[in-house]
């Protein structure tokens, strides 16, 4: 009846997990009780859970991303403290089998459920507003994307308390991820949560590519598209070209484990090397999928806070395109040691080094954007300066490892771990956090307290160097990654410093959470100077999203903007906005739908049942999902019109706020 699931799958004998479970349960019950007490279930369901509004989905993505950031960060804390303790005979507090799950969960969560989630949040919030669209091309599919991401994140967290998680690292390399060496459910949890979230990401990529191609405001030519949207465009292309490869490699691994096939086994004609090629020809473009939108965020911020147009817009777009192309030609640099000859390794090494060229172009473009600008060092600007320093260092160690001969020395060592944290924290994470604080007032209509954001940056910046520069050192001294305990006295001081660093990072995370809590506090108390009356919170916004009220009305644009060039809103500020020629018209919008949550529930049921071999539940989930889709396809009542009265009332309220803001000056 319940497949492989028995009571013994629940790890009630592991104190860390029991404690975590009690903590999660208490918080969960408190949240549910609060929603019930304030009678908010109806509101939550009607306004949020069934929404197809890209702005609300973006906010839900951010919340999911922050929760998973805390989860993944807890794993990081555990690893660093374990390595500070587990020296010279001391086994530390994490036994190897548990430690293996911790680092696997850390990598999987931070990439798939923190970074990808934050990226989709930014796509959702920013892209339609920047191109002057009223929603994405397929709003319902957008909601389904979110639910696929959400339920796979839930699935990965269920693995904490029921069964176990994968213990083979974030990419599940065979043969150790094969059934022969890993008969437990850990790898299955990994496969299905990655697989389900991959569906969500693929749909997002398709959706936003279509949106950018088809739904741009009248007059917005290709070279009028804001840079963030350009980077989203190229990231979507990479999603569409490479995520199917991930889907296929996970599917083949699942076939090996579930029906005894031999794609990646040692025997039966399988090839482990094929898996390496498959997974990295997704995995390398994946890191560019993550970093390109961060580059886009930095481009927007650099221009806004320097009071100048972005230096070298066209080269920025071209460089992004070149990175997209080169990014799919470098996957072998992740396994130079696999056994290919010098010609293969040389080709991929040189291709890897080439990528430093367009990336360098971008760094200089941001520097020249700031050069002789009226720079204001507000919160978002801190992150970009920290990014340029940190990311350049990370890029240089990357070029070092692009040399196959050098890579043979540091392959699989903590040097590598330090390198990719250097570019992912210093690039991706800094970029997304900068984006969050940059667009927060647009999303909510009030500001966050900048001082907490600055402190968060300081802790993250210092904490990053304290945590990861020691890892470069021990990596060069030969410490391999994923090690549970060690005896080498040379490594110990470095790992103590890294442990201090991770607590500094924890202070940074705390500052960010405090910043959100205080922002909510200010909003509830309607603190006057926290309100964003004009919609152009930073005063120097250049792109369309700053031309509309904050928070943005659900239909985004009362009149579709007419785009006259790059940085339309800036042009309008300089030359004045043309008087609207046409009267307001009713706006055609999609209705909210319960299809997303229902399909999400089916996805969760199917994923969980597949992990535990509960076949009847898989069939139930598939049948319900099928009929939900059929029902939706036959449903013609999916849209409505926003009345002119509502739009006019919003517009007049916005005009009053603008007048009040002008009077206050």
């Amino acid at each position: 009846m319940l497949g492989k699931l028995t009571l013994s799958a629940i790890p009630y004998d592991v104190p860390i997990l029991v404690g975590t479970f009690i903590g999660v349960a208490v918080i969960g019950i408190a949240v549910l009780a609060a929603v019930t007490y304030f009678k908010k279930w109806g509101y939550l369901w009607r306004e949020w859970l069934t929404t197809v509004d890209h702005k609300k989905l973006a906010i839900m993505y951010v919340i999911l991303g922050l929760v998973m950031l805390v989860r993944g960060f807890a794993d990081a804390l555990m690893m660093r403290t374990q390595l500070a303790l587990a020296y010279a005979g001391n086994p530390g507090y994490l036994p190897p089998h548990h430690y293996d799950q911790v680092f696997s969960a850390h990598g999987t969560i931070m990439i798939f459920f923190m970074a990808m989630v934050m990226m989709q949040a930014l796509f959702n919030f920013v892209v339609p507003l920047q191109i002057g669209a009223r929603d994405v091309a397929f709003p319902l599919i957008n909601s389904i994307s979110f639910y696929m991401t959400l339920v796979s994140a839930i699935l990965i967290n269920i693995s904490l308390f029921i069964g176990e998680f994968s213990n083979v690292g974030w990419l599940g390399y065979p043969p150790i991820s094969e059934l022969q060496f890993n008969p437990g459910v850990g790898v299955d949890y990994y496969i299905w949560s990655v697989q389900i979230s991959g569906i969500g990401t693929l749909l997002t990529g398709m959706n936003f590519l279509t949106t950018i191609i088809k739904l741009r405001a009248p007059g917005m030519k290709w070279m009028h598209i804001p840079v963030f949207t350009w980077t989203a465009f190229f990231a979507c292309i990479m999603i569409l070209t490479t995520f199917p490869v991930l889907t296929v490699s996970m599917a083949l691994l699942a076939l090996d484990r579930y029906v005894g096939m031999h794609f990646f086994t040692n025997d039966g004609g399988g090839s482990v090397m094929l898996y390496l090629n498959l997974i990295w020809s997704w995995g390398h473009p994946e890191v560019y999928i993550l970093i390109l939108p961060a580059f886009g965020v930095f481009s927007e911020i650099a221009a806004t806070f320097s009071g100048k147009p972005l230096f070298g817009y066209a080269t920025m777009v071209i460089a992004t395109g070149i990175i997209t192309f080169l990014g799919s030609l470098v996957w072998v640099h992740h396994f130079f040691t696999m056994g290919s000859g010098a010609d293969v390794n040389t080709f991929f090494g040189i291709m890897t080094m080439f990528i430093a060229v367009p990336t360098g172009v971008k760094i200089f473009n941001w520097l020249f954007t700031m050069y002789k600008g009226r720079i204001r060092f507000e919160g978002p600007m801190h992150w970009i300066v920290g990014f340029m320093i940190t990311f350049s260092i990370g890029g240089m160690t990357g070029v070092m490892m692009a040399m196959p001969a050098a890579d043979w020395v540091v392959h699989n060592s903590l040097f590598l771990v330090a390198h990719f944290h250097n570019v992912i924290i210093g690039g991706v994470f800094f970029g997304y956090v900068a984006g969050l604080s940059y667009w927060f007032p647009k999303a909510f209509g009030f500001k966050m307290r900048d001082v907490w954001g600055k402190w968060a940056f300081r802790f993250w910046f210092v904490g990053f160097y304290l945590s990861f520069i020691p890892l470069y050192a021990v990596g060069l001294e030969g410490m391999t990654r994923r090690m549970n305990h060690y005896d080498n006295p040379n490594w110990h001081p470095w790992l103590l410093v890294a442990c201090v660093g991770v607590f500094v990072l924890a202070a940074g995370v705390a500052c960010q959470l405090i910043q959100f809590v205080l922002a909510a506090f200010d909003a509830v108390n309607k603190k006057p100077d926290a309100l964003d009356l004009t919609g152009d919170n930073w005063g120097s916004g250049r792109t369309l999203e700053w031309s509309i009220p904050s928070p943005v009305p659900h239909y985004n644009f009362a009149r579709l903007p007419v785009v006259r060039g790059l940085d339309t809103f800036h042009i309008e500020k300089e030359l004045g906005r043309p008087a609207p020629v046409a009267d307001l018209e009713p706006i055609h919008m999609p209705k909210y739908s319960a299809v997303g949550p229902v399909l999400g529930a089916c996805g969760l049921l199917i994923g969980f049942a597949l992990v535990w071999h509960i076949w009847w539940a898989v069939i139930v989930g598939l049948v319900v999902a099928f009929f939900t889709v059929v029902h939706r396809s036959a449903n013609l009542d999916v849209d409505f019109y926003v009345t002119v009265e509502e739009i006019r009332a919003d517009e007049e309220a916005f005009a009053r706020r603008l007048a009040a803001a002008k009077a206050a000056e």
Binding site: G132, A133, R134, D135, I213, K214, L215, R216, A217, P218, M220, I237, T241, T242, V245, S271, M273, L274, N277, S281, S328, L329, W331, V332, M338, G339, S340, G341, D343, V344, F347, L560, H588, P590, V638, D639
Partner: protein, 112 residues
């Protein structure tokens, strides 16, 4: 580019029940034919590979025409062409790349 956001896409082929059913039947027939080609052992090894390749290519066309509505009436020929070129390039990179890498590894690591 179309600035209006509506759910009615005039001028684009959205298919009918008949076209969906025709597409579905064709897809099923082609799938069954692929399995039959392998299971019946009617062909030699390389012939089977060739037959599967042809059936897969036809299957792709069926999906594109009947499910993705890529008809001749579509007014976005340039976008279709660009999408196909990018897809073809990526497939070429991946397949040629894998052959290059794995062939080389085979030559280096499997003496004899």
């Amino acid at each position: 580019m179309s600035g209006n956001h509506t759910t009615s896409h005039e001028g684009e082929n959205h298919g009918s029940y008949v076209s969906y059913i025709v597409g579905f039947v064709l897809a099923v027939v082609l799938t069954v034919a692929s399995f039959a080609a392998v299971l019946s052992k009617a062909f030699s090894f390389w012939q089977t590979i060739a037959v599967l390749g042809v059936l897969a290519a036809v299957q792709m066309v069926v999906h594109l025409v009947f499910f993705l509505h890529m008809g001749v009436k579509s007014d976005s020929q340039r976008q279709n062409l660009a999408a196909f070129l990018v897809t073809a390039l990526m497939v070429l990179i991946v397949i040629a790349g894998y052959l290059f890498v794995l062939w080389d590894a085979q030559a280096n690591m499997m003496p004899g």
